[in-house]
């Protein structure tokens, strides 16, 4: 009996310990949610503000908190250089009190035509667990009116004309 | 026409190319400026035409102080440098048209003047041929034509017969004699071909290591050195070697 009780206590202790480790790995100190817009479909040049709600879910004060935008280009399967979109500057929140909510606007300007996922991320220097929001779809619409035939004609005729001129010049020189 | 007083040129590296040179060229002279290599002939010409500044001394060309009238001088002189290039892609006529335009001749004047100078140097038949196809003699004649395009009073020719065959040399000499007699152009010429200088020049100056050794008419020089040199049929060449022979000994 004593033997079985000891083994049970040991297992319970291990479980608690493992649960502790699992808890430490899964627990984020924040929740972050994009309030608006829900989705974007606009032309290049448009400036937007992404409204984000960040909540401190712990009972402690968290210092050195900041948030930023990230985008993934779904058309090219690439990351995005946010400097081109004027969205490379994080917004510093500073210190968040226990269970405090903060609403922040993150600016972005739409530039290159493609389909993207846009999400926001919150980070504190005190905790390596990074929290990101669910992404919103962003479509930057191409509005090209280029007529392919016109381009083909110009691309073919211009070099040919200059080549003929070159041959004429070479013949005259002789 | 050309006067220099104590003309001196010391280059940045300290080399004294011309030392206290005093020359006098009269209107209508064909003046030979003679000396061995490195005597300062090209440096002297470049000072006279205003391309380089003298270190000290005065110089006057066509009654103009060269230092104060560098741009004005160019209207009165024509220059054929020793080593010079041409725009090979131009024809002879285009080349002269270009320089006549640079000398501000108007369109009507240009056509007539170009035809005239081409005729003077016997290049009329080659006017529409590209310079790249010209022989050395033809290029020299074209160069002389260029010096005459704006009717200068004086022309400076630095080794105009260099590298030419005897016929080419003779052609150049005839052109220069004709220019002087018919057009009254004063000619300042440097050359190593002393026999040709003796034929065409009426006055010469002989320089050695930047210093003037003699300046006088050819005949006066020959008379002066007859007794000293003791030679029958004394030539300008003999006088030249007599005056510059110390250099050979030093070497």
């Amino acid at each position: 009996m004593k033997k079985y009780l000891t083994i049970l206590i040991l297992f319970a202790g291990l479980l608690g310990f493992n649960t502790g480790i699992a808890k430490a790995q899964d627990t984020s100190n924040f929740t972050i949610e994009i309030l608006s817009p829900a989705k974007v479909a606009e032309y290049p040049g448009k400036e937007l503000k992404i409204k984000v709600k960040i909540t401190n879910t712990t009972d402690q004060e968290i210092k050195n908190v900041f948030t930023y935008i990230t985008m993934a280009n779904l058309s090219k399967n690439w990351t995005v250089n946010l400097e081109d979109y004027s969205a490379d500057q994080p917004v510093t929140i500073g210190t968040m009190k226990p269970h405090e909510e903060k609403i922040v606007n993150l600016p972005i300007q739409l530039v290159y035509t493609a389909d993207y996922y846009l999400y926001t991320t919150v980070v504190s220097k005190e905790n390596p667990v990074i929290t990101s929001s669910v992404a919103i779809p962003v479509k930057i619409i191409g509005n090209t009116k280029i007529v392919p035939l016109q381009v083909q004609i110009v691309s073919t005729v211009m070099p040919l004309l200059l080549l003929v001129l070159l041959f004429i010049t070479m013949k005259i020189k002789r | 026409m050309i006067n220099t007083q104590q003309l001196k040129k010391v280059y940045d590296n300290g080399f004294e190319a011309v030392k206290n040179l005093s020359l006098h060229v009269h209107k209508g002279d064909i003046y030979g400026f003679l000396g061995p290599n490195g005597a300062g002939k090209t440096t002297t010409i470049r000072m006279l035409i205003g391309l380089i500044e003298p270190t000290s001394g005065e110089l006057e060309v066509s009654n103009l102080n060269v230092k104060k009238n560098k741009e004005e001088i160019k209207k009165h002189i024509g220059v054929l440098p020793e080593s010079h290039g041409y725009y090979e892609w131009m024809t002879g006529e285009e080349y002269l048209q270009f320089f006549s335009a640079l000398h501000k001749l108007d369109k009507k004047q240009r056509k007539a003047k170009v035809a005239e100078v081409l005729d003077l140097v016997s290049l009329t038949s080659k006017a529409n041929v590209k310079i790249s196809q010209y022989s050395r003699g033809m290029r020299q004649r074209l160069g002389i034509a260029r010096t005459l395009i704006h009717d200068p009073e004086i022309i400076f020719l630095d080794e105009p017969t260099l590298g030419l065959d005897p016929q080419g040399q003779k052609d150049i000499e005839n052109i220069l004699l004709n220019l002087n007699k018919v057009n009254g152009v004063t000619i300042f010429i440097t050359s190593h071909l002393l026999k040709d200088i003796e034929k065409i020049c009426n006055r010469v100056a002989i320089v050695k290591t930047g210093t003037l050794m003699e300046e006088d008419s050819v005949q006066s020089l020959l008379d002066k050195y007859k007794k000293e040199i003791h030679k029958e049929d004394l030539s300008l060449e003999d006088v030249f070697f007599h005056l510059t022979s110390d250099r050979k000994e030093e070497q």
Partner: protein
């Protein structure tokens, strides 16, 4: 007199095999790029402002390089060929010689822009961009060409060899164009930051983006172009100052 020299330079460097060869190369590159915009999948997704911007960048880059190569050979080439002395013996001043050669390079640039207009027209078709393209091309483009050509003429005047003048000219262009090849992070600090903030090439590219994509107002764009204007004034000033050094190869 001045026009005669401009005419000669134009005939020698532009209406010649070399000049028309350059024009053909520019046209070929524009053709390849334009064709890519309609045939390559990723490029065909680009919006027209971006297409036009990319074309303008190529046009400017290639032509600054060509202008510098031509400029680098202009004085040093005359020295090597022995034709400079003859020019200096005419009533032309040294400053006139420099200005005439600069004018010839400018004429080359204008001819290149004429060749590029059909391309830019079809690529900016119905996007209401063509007037802006012309303004940028003939405004900022011309200023950049004059600036870089002046730099090339300075090297050509100071150096005896056309080869050395060309190498230096190309290096000078690459140094000002470095920011285009650097990553965003590198441009935020150190020497790269200094070059990026002061480079006329960098400033003109930023202005291009602000004009075509961000649709910024003219006063703001003009402020961004200050490095370009300063570079232009300095380059032209030094080119005219260095004209005194236009001199033939000496030696007796």
């Amino acid at each position: 007199m001045f026009l005669a020299l401009v005419k000669k330079e134009t005939k020698e460097h532009i209406f010649s095999r070399k000049g028309i060869g350059f024009l053909f190369v520019v046209s070929l590159l524009l053709s390849i790029l334009s064709f890519s915009f309609i045939s390559v999948k990723e490029l065909s997704l680009l919006d027209q402002p971006t297409v036009v911007m990319t074309t303008l960048k190529l046009l400017l880059g290639i032509n600054i390089l060509i202008a510098m190569v031509i400029g680098a050979t202009m004085i040093a080439g005359e020295k090597e060929k022995g034709t400079l002395e003859s020019l200096l013996l005419t009533p032309l001043t040294k400053r006139n010689i420099i200005l005439a050669k600069l004018a010839a390079i400018l004429i080359f640039w204008l001819i290149v822009t004429l060749v590029s207009l059909p391309y830019l027209f079809v690529l900016a078709y119905q996007a209401n961009l063509f007037p802006t393209v012309l303004l940028y091309l003939y405004g900022i483009g011309t200023i950049l060409i004059i600036s870089f050509s002046s730099i090339a003429l300075i090297f050509s005047t100071v150096l005896v060899s056309t080869k050395n003048a060309m190498i230096l000219a190309i290096m000078a262009f690459l140094i000002t164009a470095i920011p285009m090849f650097l990553s965003t992070t590198m441009k935020k600090s150190g020497l790269a930051k200094v070059i990026s903030e002061n480079s006329p090439v960098s400033a003109s590219m930023t202005a291009m983006k602000d004009i075509f994509i961000n649709k910024m107002a003219a006063p703001q764009v003009l402020i961004e172009l200050i490095p370009v204007f300063i570079f232009f004034l300095l380059a032209l000033f030094f080119a005219l100052l260095i004209a005194k050094k236009v001199d033939f190869l000496r030696g007796e």
